[in-house]
């Protein structure tokens, strides 16, 4: 009997290791031969630890399994009579309604098994890329319509083309795995659950641009991702997918993991480069563009984990296949992360165009508390709070921008009616004050002033004047900040103020 117990951090955090030990111990006690496999997570986190057994009818899931449930699962012979029986994962509506392209292997394969990876289309994209000319690889990415998934949504192919055209003895591929946004975990899942996919995406970027060195900059809050990526790189190198003359081709690519050190602003691409160079993570002025003068002053592709992880399937199945998903100028799919006060929190990969209402109710099942949902923050701590009147807007970079919101990295944090939006607005300013790199005054000082002004508004001191002051301050931050840290902190603040004035003691 083969039994799968996930090894994703979110499964470990609710006892997956203890369950795995209990499964093995119980099998031993009963004299049953089992093969315990540690797979990635399917991203149905309310059901973790989600244990699966292999049967003639396919894999059958049980969850959420606690250590105490293990004996009874064996008693029930892992059958449908057990109360935790969920049936086949692929029949569950949460998964059935998704369009998993990038996350197709998630929960199915073992993260560090090259055999599992290759059995599920792994390295088909890299093999394809090695048959094409670098310019043709860049063209595939351009034609796919893939835009950066890290926040700014810049077309990936244009960046690659710039780096490909640059003349330099050394070029770099840097993967931004700093994933600091609250409500996001798709980068973490990718690195812990399907690391070869990211490696493959970066190798394709190297082939396309002529880069021979690459770095994955991973936040220190993700030690499991760091460990898995390091092991995966070793395995991939030993098997010839990385290193000198990848897969016998003329291309070489050496990949390294670097651990960050807990500064949110190091997710900003130029601050990340400074950090990789061994300095304080202070934002650089642009130009020069990193594509021309990036890491150590050399032409550098910087992309988010999901951007790079989306590339293998684009190469394997063709640009048109990917481009046909989505709406408007938002092509392909987005791994959306349902988080916060949500009954069924987890990873939903969908083509662009899905609405928040569908995500929160059809997938998420409403709030975890059972109370009405009041506000949703989309796109991390610099994203706007989206009120119910906007929950039917299709998820699309341009449609969101039109209402002053952002898609960002696709994190969706749900708050119920107990949330105080003035308190959350204050937190946004406070977070900016804690994390500001300090280079510009509107961000460094403005955020601290912002906390004070919001406190005065909440205390009812000269409220109308203080509200005007807050708006002026936000205006200064938007227009006078070098990067989006100071420039976008006003998004959550003003959206809270505009859509929930009652929480600031103002008339509706």
């Amino acid at each position: 009997m083969i039994i799968y117990v996930p090894c994703d951090s979110a499964a470990l955090a609710v006892g997956a290791d203890e369950v795995a030990l209990a499964v093995q111990a119980e099998a031993d006690r009963r004299g049953l031969a089992i093969e315990l496999r540690r797979n990635s997570s399917r991203g149905l986190f309310w059901l973790e630890p989600l244990v699966e057994v292999v049967t003639p009818a396919g894999r059958i899931a049980f969850g959420p399994v606690a250590e105490e449930d293990v004996a009874s699962l064996f008693d029930a012979a892992w059958g449908a009579s057990h109360p935790l029986h969920l049936g086949r994962p692929e029949d569950m509506p949460f998964l059935q309604k998704q369009e998993r392209l990038t996350f197709a292997r998630m929960g199915i394969t073992r993260p560090l098994s090259l055999a599992d990876y290759e059995a599920h289309e792994g390295f088909a994209g890299l093999r394809k890329a090695l048959q094409l000319s670098p310019a043709e690889v860049v063209q595939q990415v351009l034609d796919s319509g893939l835009r950066g998934r890290g926040g700014a949504a810049f077309p990936a192919g244009i960046k690659w083309k710039t780096v490909a055209a640059a003349q330099a003895a050394q070029k770099y591929i840097v993967c931004n795995a700093d994933e600091g946004d609250s409500g996001t975990y798709s980068d973490r899942m990718t690195m812990e659950g399907d690391p070869f996919m990211l490696i493959e995406g970066m190798a394709i970027a190297a082939v396309a641009t002529g880069a021979t060195q690459g770095y994955v900059y991973i936040r220190s809050e993700y030690p499991h991702a760091v460990a898995t990526m390091r092991s995966a790189i070793e395995l991939a190198t030993a098997a010839g997918f990385l290193g000198e003359q990848m897969l016998g081709s003329a291309h070489s690519f050496h990949l390294h993991v670097r651990m960050a050190a807990g500064a949110y602003v190091c997710g900003e691409e130029t601050a990340m480069l400074e950090s990789l160079e061994g300095k304080r993570g202070i934002v650089r002025a642009k130009p020069p563009l990193p594509a021309l003068s990036g890491l150590f002053g050399k032409p550098t592709v910087i992309n988010n984990v999901i951007t790079l992880a989306s590339v293998p399937i684009i190469l394997a199945r063709g640009a048109a296949f990917y481009r046909n998903y989505g709406v408007g100028r938002s092509h392909g799919t987005l791994p959306i992360q349902l988080a916060g006060n949500i009954l069924h929190g987890g990873l939903v990969e969908k083509a662009f165009g899905v609405t928040l209402r569908e995500l929160m109710y059809d997938f998420g099942g409403g709030s975890a508390s059972g109370r009405p949902i009041k506000a949703v923050q989309v796109g991390g701590p610099l994203g706007a709070y989206v009120p119910e009147s906007q929950w039917d807007i299709p998820l699309d970079y341009e449609a969101y921008a039109a209402v002053g919101a952002v898609v960002g990295h696709g994190g969706i944090v749900v708050h119920d009616d107990r949330a105080n939006m003035a308190r959350l607005a204050r937190y946004a300013m406070e977070f900016c004050a804690i994390e500001s790199c300090g280079k510009c005054t509107p961000c460094r000082i403005g955020s601290t002033r912002g906390v004070e002004v919001i406190d005065r508004i909440r205390d009812g001191e000269n409220r109308p004047q203080q509200v005007q002051l807050l708006r002026d301050l936000c205006d200064t931050m938007v227009h006078g900040s070098l990067c989006a840290m100071g420039g976008m902190t006003p998004f959550p603040v003003l959206s809270a103020l505009n859509h929930y004035p009652q929480d600031f003691g103002l008339p509706v």
Binding site: T184, Y222, A261, G278, R280, N341, P381, V413, E435
Partner: protein, 159 residues
Amino acid sequence: MTPDHTFDAVATAVAAHQHLPGALMPILHAVQDALGHIPADAVPSIAKALNLSTAEVHGVVTYYHHFRSAPAGRQVVQICRAESCQSMGGEQLWAHACVRLGLHGDHPGTTPDGAVTLEPVYCLGLCASSPAMVVDAKLHARMNIQKFDRLVAQAGSAA
């Protein structure tokens, strides 16, 4: 921690990483992994090895939240205070931790007996299972006050 200890840890870290481009961060991580923090007397030798000024290295150590300049308590507890965890009672968990450990929410630090260090973190990537925290590098999600008291050695008894 004896200075000998520090000296050895720094020498090992420098030897292992000095050749890397941008070696400072890997060296600082290695020192902190070995010693639990980056002692002030480690800074000059790191600076010397990398041909940097002491001020530059000090600036990097103090810039990043992850690096500690002083030893932590015997148990390190990190509670997520970011938005997703806030929406699921993370701030109540934080407040409970502060009361139980007798620490101040704005500058928690280490309990006077050196038993527990409490720190805020801003997202652990466990936001679908909020609230989340870390105890001595082990992750815990779907937290509540009862679970906290079970996990944090001193918390159950102190009042």
